[in-house]
């Protein structure tokens, strides 16, 4: 069982994990998999872990990211980036905040007014499609 302590407030962590769970569930259902089938594909010891994750408790172990992405039919990079926004929003905001706010990585011309930081803005995003 993987653990990775966060330094966010417990309330915020809980909220983000719940969002991650909903996202994972949406992906699984879109793929037409049962929790037991997904557990088998990702090597989860007990399929009830899937239910626990979808309810917003715990996190996908990093050493299983590729298995999860493959099972859910999503590009690994998209999968990990989305998970990072829930599990490690501070890092996510540093890595991708500029892009999300409409700037180009090289500081190009598409600048838009800055948005609140990811960690305080709970948002809904559409599911990334597999390439």
């Amino acid at each position: 069982m993987y653990t990775h302590p966060q330094r966010l407030s417990a309330r915020l962590t809980r909220k983000l994990r719940s969002q991650a769970g909903l996202w994972l569930r949406e992906l699984r259902e879109k793929r037409g998999l049962s929790q037991r089938e997904l557990a088998r594909k990702v090597g989860a010891q007990y399929y009830t872990f899937i239910s626990q994750l979808e309810q917003g408790r715990g996190r996908v172990p990093p050493d299983r990211y590729l298995l999860w992405a493959d099972a859910l039919g999503i590009a690994p990079r998209d999968f990990v980036r989305e998970l990072m926004s829930y599990y490690d929003p501070v890092t996510y905001d540093i890595m991708f905040g500029e892009l999300r706010r409409g700037k180009t990585p090289a500081g190009g011309a598409s600048r838009t007014p800055a948005q609140p930081a990811t960690i305080v803005k709970m948002r809904h995003r559409s599911l990334p499609e597999r390439n």
Partner: protein, 118 residues
């Protein structure tokens, strides 16, 4: 960190599907984990096949400390400090084996064997 008291009545009110006897055993786990200095909260749910799980979480870190489930008529528990999992058909026995390996109980047991201070 300090233990976060969760009353047995609260657990009963929220944990549909688990029997009173099972919840009493979960309360023993809660007390032991709290003694280990964890601020523990609990959560539970059911799989898409209707099988129950019950999780103990570190409220500060948001991580799962122990995952119990009733799968196919057997009880299972998985926790980082177990280096694997425990399974059994008799719930109190499984709980006892789990508690024997709990950091909280090990610490209490260790301290009880310390010689008295001079």
């Amino acid at each position: 960190m300090s233990g976060s008291p969760v009353s047995l009545a609260d657990m009963r009110a929220r944990r549909q599907g688990w029997s009173a006897h099972e919840l009493e055993n979960f309360h023993r786990v809660l007390n032991t984990l709290s003694q280990a200095g964890l601020s523990v909260e609990t959560d539970s749910g059911a799989s898409d096949e209707g099988e129950l799980w019950f999780a103990f979480c570190d409220a500060d870190a948001g991580e799962v400390v122990a995952h119990f489930a009733r799968i196919g008529g057997k009880y299972v528990v998985c926790a980082p400090f177990l280096n694997g999992s425990l399974t059994g058909k008799v719930f109190p026995d499984l709980i006892e084996h789990f508690l024997d390996r709990c950091p909280g109980r090990r610490a209490a047991s260790f301290s009880s064997h310390l010689p008295p201070a001079a």
